[in-house]
C-alpha cells in the first residue's frame, strides 16, 4: 500500500514537471487599469509549446497592455505571469531569455545601421551571431545594399524588417510575443513572416500575436478575445 502511494506521488510529480515543461506561458487573474478605466479583469491565459494564440479585440481593448504585462514590461494591478516557469515580475532577465518581444516601438536606433543595431541586440541577448550571419539575414529580408545605412534613412517597412530580423537571429526562443508584426510590410514580406512563424511553430515554438489583418498561417490557431470595456 505504502509502495503504491509512493509510486503515485512520483507519477504525480512527474506529470506536474512535464506540464510545466509544456506550458510556455501561464498568466493568472491579470487585471489592468489605466486612467481610471478597467481594461481587463481576472484574465487567465495559458500557452502550450507549439501553440499559436491570436489575441483579438477592438482598438483600446487592452491588447498591447496585456502583451506588455505578459512579457514583464508593465505591471498588472493584480495577477501573476510566468514564462517557462520563471515569474516575470520576480526575475525578468531570466524569464525574457525564452522570449522575443516585438512591440509597437521597433527597438532600433535611427542613427545606427541595421548591422550595428542587430549586432548590438545579439550582444545584449548573449547571442554569438557572426557579422556574416547578420548580413545574410538582412539579405533574406530584402535589405541587401542597405546594411550600412543609418536606419533613419530607410522606409517605415524597411525599418520594421530590420526589427523583425531578430526572429531570424535568435533560435533558442520558446515564445514569440508579436504586437501587430505585419503593419507597414509589403505582401511578400508578410508572406515571409507568416512562413517564418509557421516554421517556428512546427519546431515546437509558441506564438502569441495580435493582428488586425487576416493571418494566413498553416497551423492550428486559438483565438483569445479581449472585450472593450467602458
Amino acid at each position: 500500500m505504502v509502495g503504491q502511494c509512493i509510486v503515485f506521488m512520483v507519477i504525480f510529480r512527474r506529470l506536474i514537471y512535464v506540464s510545466k515543461l509544456l506550458t510556455v506561458l501561464s498568466a493568472r487573474d491579470l487585471s489592468c487599469e489605466k486612467q481610471d478605466r478597467i481594461l481587463f479583469e481576472n484574465v487567465d491565459l495559458q500557452i502550450e509549446a507549439g501553440e499559436l494564440v491570436l489575441l483579438r479585440g477592438e482598438n483600446g481593448a487592452g491588447k498591447t497592455s496585456l502583451l506588455r504585462i505578459l512579457v514583464g514590461l508593465s505591471q498588472a494591478q493584480a495577477g501573476s505571469v510566468s514564462i517557462c516557469g520563471e515569474d516575470v515580475n520576480h526575475d525578468i532577465n531570466l524569464a525574457s531569455q525564452h522570449i522575443i518581444y516585438f512591440g509597437h516601438k521597433l527597438g532600433v536606433s535611427g542613427l545606427l545601421s541595421p548591422i550595428e543595431n542587430l549586432t548590438f541586440w545579439c550582444k545584449q541577448h548573449g547571442l554569438a551571431i557572426s557579422h556574416d550571419n547578420i548580413v545574410d539575414t538582412l539579405e533574406t529580408l530584402g535589405l541587401e545594399g542597405l546594411e550600412s545605412l543609418p536606419v533613419k534613412y530607410l522606409s517605415q517597412g524597411q525599418q520594421r524588417r530590420v526589427s523583425l530580423a531578430r526572429l531570424w537571429l535568435k533560435n533558442d526562443a520558446k515564445l514569440w510575443v508579436l504586437d501587430e508584426p505585419m503593419t507597414a510590410l509589403d505582401v511578400q514580406m508578410v508572406a515571409q513572416v507568416e512562413q517564418k512563424i509557421t516554421a517556428f511553430l512546427r519546431a515546437g515554438g509558441s506564438v502569441l500575436m495580435t493582428s488586425h489583418q487576416a493571418v494566413k498561417i498553416e497551423h492550428e490557431q486559438r483565438e483569445f478575445t479581449l472585450e472593450y470595456r467602458w
Binding site: 505591471q75 532577465n93 525574457s96 518581444y101 536606433s109 550595428e116 548590438f120 541586440w121 550582444k123 545584449q124
Partner: protein
C-alpha cells in the same frame, strides 16, 4: 563584461553621430563663464572671489541641459524595452550608460577648465581644488540627475521639470564644492569638504543604479 562594453560602445557611437548636440552644453558652459567677466567687470579680485561658484553653477546648468537626452532616444525608439528584456540586469546597464554619459559629456568640460580658470583669474591652488571638486562632484550630478531623467522620460517637454526636481538635490554638492575652493583661495585645508563629496559620490554610486532602473520601469509602465 563584453556585453557591458557593447552598451558603452553604442552610446559613444551615437554621441559621435550627434556631435552638434554634444557640443551644445559645452558651448553653453563656456558662454556662461565668459559672460561673467563682461558683466562683473575686469576687477581680478572680484572675479577670483566668485570664480568657484560661477564655474560650479555653470557646470550644473550645462549638465542638466545635456542630461535630458540620456534615456530619451532609447525610450522613444523602444531600445529601452529591449534593455529591460535583455539578459543583463537593468541596474548594470544604466550604471554603464551613466558612466559613459560622464565620459562623453563631462570629461571635455574638465579638460576645458584650465582655460576657464584663466578667464576668472583663479590661482593654482584654487584650480587644483576646482578640479578635485569637479572630479568628485560631477559623477554625483550624473548619477542623481539620471534618476530625475528616468522618472520624467515618458513626459513631453520635461526639461524644466527635470531642472526643478534636481537643482535642490545639488545644493549640498554646491556648498561643499564652493567651500573647498574658497578654502583653497585662503590657503586653508579642504580635506573635509572633499571627504564629504567622496561620501556623496560613493552613496550615489551605490544607490542610484537601482533607483534609476526602478524609475525607468515605472516610466515605461
Amino acid at each position: 563584461m563584453s556585453v557591458l562594453w557593447s552598451y558603452c560602445k553604442r552610446d559613444i557611437a551615437l554621441a559621435y553621430r550627434q556631435r552638434a548636440e554634444l557640443m551644445q552644453p559645452l558651448m553653453f558652459f563656456i558662454m556662461v563663464i565668459t559672460l561673467f567677466p563682461l558683466a562683473i567687470g575686469p576687477s581680478p579680485e572680484i572675479l577670483q572671489r566668485v570664480s568657484g561658484a560661477v564655474i560650479w553653477v555653470a557646470a550644473i546648468l550645462s549638465l542638466l541641459l545635456g542630461m535630458e537626452r540620456m534615456f530619451r532616444d532609447d525610450f522613444n525608439d523602444g531600445t529601452l524595452e529591449q534593455y529591460v528584456l535583455s539578459t543583463t540586469p537593468l541596474y548594470l546597464i544604466v550604471l554603464v550608460k551613466v558612466l559613459t554619459h560622464w565620459l562623453i559629456h563631462i570629461l571635455p568640460l574638465l579638460l576645458l577648465s584650465p582655460l576657464l580658470a584663466l578667464f576668472l583669474n583663479m590661482t593654482m591652488a584654487m584650480y587644483v581644488a576646482l578640479l578635485a571638486t569637479l572630479l568628485l562632484g560631477t559623477p554625483v550630478i550624473s548619477l542623481i540627475g539620471a534618476i530625475g531623467v528616468a522618472l520624467t522620460v515618458g513626459l513631453q517637454r520635461s526639461g524644466v521639470l527635470v531642472a526643478l526636481l534636481l537643482i535642490p538635490l545639488f545644493i549640498p554638492l554646491l556648498i561643499f564644492a564652493t567651500s573647498a575652493i574658497d578654502s583653497a583661495s585662503l590657503q586653508l585645508p579642504y580635506a573635509f569638504q572633499l571627504g564629504m563629496m567622496t561620501a556623496l559620490v560613493l552613496f550615489a554610486l551605490a544607490a542610484s543604479p537601482a533607483a534609476i532602473s526602478y524609475s525607468l520601469k515605472v516610466s515605461q509602465n
